[in-house]
């Protein structure tokens, strides 16, 4: 393999020395926009996990110290949301049973996604000082914002599950396997989009404003506060209803939310409210989302990686 100056670079021996002696790395910095080698980079990121964990810890501490309620705030958000929408749904005279369990199933997943994107867009810019003065793999910054959102997600979900059990709603074991699958899809897709958003926002600050608007539209294009089954049936009454439904299904977050809702919401008329898919169809759909999100992650990671070399200059 030849580098830009025509010098021979022995890739294999470099990799070997990297693999044998972890503390004594051999680094080479060239003018070429770096090409992403996933394994090597992932190993490097793992080597810097200390920074990632510390940044997440810092964010959480900063978020909740000096506030009386602390982490309770993180739980309050979905509770208030729930109260508002329960009220709205009651006013609209909806007859949906166990609405809170339906809503929270999708809402918590959505929160992870939207919080990551919103904070992720700012992640590189707000750490400009670090980026300009310290070397570390820049992926850590957007990953830390996802990490913070993830901690909130886990806390909220844990409380949610406890409530489900305490109120006697419980779980259906035969549906529960959809939950980890949806979660994997959610996490992959969230990280992928957050990488892209954070890298683009360094060059175009428009992105952070755009994100706010896009998330608003996206939220209502996803069946979180309304049941997908009802949408499906009402769309069918229109002439091009099938077409619109297909377009609706192009939204990967919709599939992720389908998955979470199917896994958790099992009231008597669940099939009427939830997306009109069998378990098998949902599994295939989520599988496709996972594959697509992985490809997307690879692409956005590559974009992020090649742009990240210039972050210190652009800020």
């Amino acid at each position: 393999m030849l580098d830009s100056r025509g010098l021979r670079v022995d890739t294999r021996s470099r990799l070997r020395s990297f693999a044998i002696a972890t503390p004594i790395g051999f680094t080479e910095r060239t003018s070429e926009p770096p090409r992403l080698r996933v394994r090597q980079r992932a190993r490097e990121l793992y080597g810097y996990r200390e920074i990632l964990l510390n940044l997440i810890r810092k964010e959480l501490k900063v978020k909740y110290t000096a506030s009386v309620l602390g982490a309770v705030w993180s739980l309050l958000n979905p509770i208030v949301f729930l109260a508002v929408f329960t009220f709205v749904v009651k006013v609209l005279n909806n007859d949906m049973e166990d609405f809170p369990f339906f809503l929270l199933g999708g809402l918590l997943a959505w929160n992870l996604f939207s919080v990551s994107l919103n904070a992720g867009a700012q992640s590189v810019i707000s750490n400009a000082n670090l980026v300009k003065k310290v070397y570390f793999p820049r992926e850590i910054l957007p990953l830390a914002t996802v990490g913070v959102a993830l901690v909130d997600f886990v806390l909220q979900s844990a409380l949610f599950f406890v409530i489900m059990v305490v109120l006697g709603y419980g779980f259906r074991i035969e549906l529960l396997w959809l939950y980890p699958m949806s979660f994997v899809a959610l996490l992959l897709f969230t990280v992928a989009v957050t990488f892209w958003v954070s890298a683009m926002n360094v060059r175009y600050r428009d992105v952070q404003h755009l994100i706010g608007l896009a998330l608003l539209v996206w939220f209502w294009m996803t069946p979180i506060v309304y049941p997908a089954g009802v949408v499906y049936r009402s769309l069918l009454t229109y002439t091009h209803g099938q077409l619109f439904w297909r377009l609706y299904l192009l939204n990967p977050v919709a599939w992720i939310v389908f998955g979470f809702q199917k896994a958790l919401y099992h009231s008597a008329r669940a099939d009427y409210f939830l997306a009109p898919f069998t378990l098998g169809q949902l599994a295939v759909g989520l599988g496709i989302v996972i594959v697509a999100a992985t490809v997307l992650l690879y692409l956005t990671w590559r974009v992020f990686f090649s742009l990240s070399g210039d972050f210190a200059e652009e800020l």
């Binding site: 680094t27 810890r57 501490k61 670090l130 175009y204």
Partner: protein
Amino acid sequence: MTAAIEVAGVSKRFRIYREKPTSLKQRVLAGRIRAEDFWALRDVSFTVDEGEFLALIGHNGSGKSTLLKVIAGILRPTEGIVRERGRIAGLLELGAGFHPELTGRENVFLNAAFLGLSHKETERVYDDIVSFAELGDFMETAVKFYSSGMLVRLGFACAVHVEPEIILVDEVLAVGDEAFQARCLDRVRTFQREGRTIVLVTHALDLVRQLCDQAVMLDHGVVKAIGQPDDVVREMRMTILKHDLEYAREEGTKEVEILGAQLLSGADPLTAPLRPGETLTIQVDLKANEPVDDPVVSFALHDGTNNFMFGGDTARQGLFLGRLDGKRRVRFDLGPVPFTGGKFWVTLGVHSRDNQRVYHVQDQRYSFEVRQTEGRRDQTFMQVAVEVEEL
């Protein structure tokens, strides 16, 4: 010896935008953005061996810090390659990642992570860090309540407890009071003894000569000199001299003109640097182009960083030149110089007694150097006479 850092043909170009477009609209509307190229580094090459201490020197804006950032991996070179063997810690800023809401303890762990220490390693040196920073009672306090001095101490304590093979230090570390700086220096020497590779960006030329194995002088992004610290520092001093000569200003109405001046020690012109305590005489030759009544001749001394050191004039010495017509020679005998090192600049002037008319000023046109005797660490020179008597 194996190379720890190899810099091969590195250039770095910055694009300077008149107004940097940071939004899509601006970028679209502006069409072709007017950008100027600025080469901060041009074809820089050198090697730092393992365990070597290299200094990067040069004027402000010569590209030292850019080079350090390229080596640290913060900036990407536009051309060329940097190869490194070993774990690198870049101390380009004290307390990177410090957050005001976190306690001192938490910030130590956060900062140490950025300096490449794992949680375990940090725990092992934590007590050392605390005692080095002398902040034992404050580690559980949020650092927003720290004084700036405490912050600096904590940041530095973290910085000196890293244990990488390669350490990059920017001069920002030259902060704090004398005692603290001495401790910093001590720590750098320890690093050196432990065989770590160090790259230091600095303006302190004497330090370079004392500590470093190799020096690289940059000038406008180009390597101007490389090699033995003594040689490179000499080159640097020469450049400072030339650089300043270009800016030597002259002004005045020229009724009286300074024909020339000479710096003497005793009766001999200065050829070598003065030793502390050797005498200095400034001899000024004047010529009146028109007859002038009672002019005053003055001089001022500035040190290398343009601090005013001392000044005097004929009037203050109670000397009246009377009516000046033709040529005249004025000699200021300054006695033994109290300085112990550095370069000093002499400004000369002739003006009217009421200071209303400036006939002629030569701003820092002449210079002399003072060099400490090897092995002495005096800050100033004092004339000492010793007497011993029987009691």
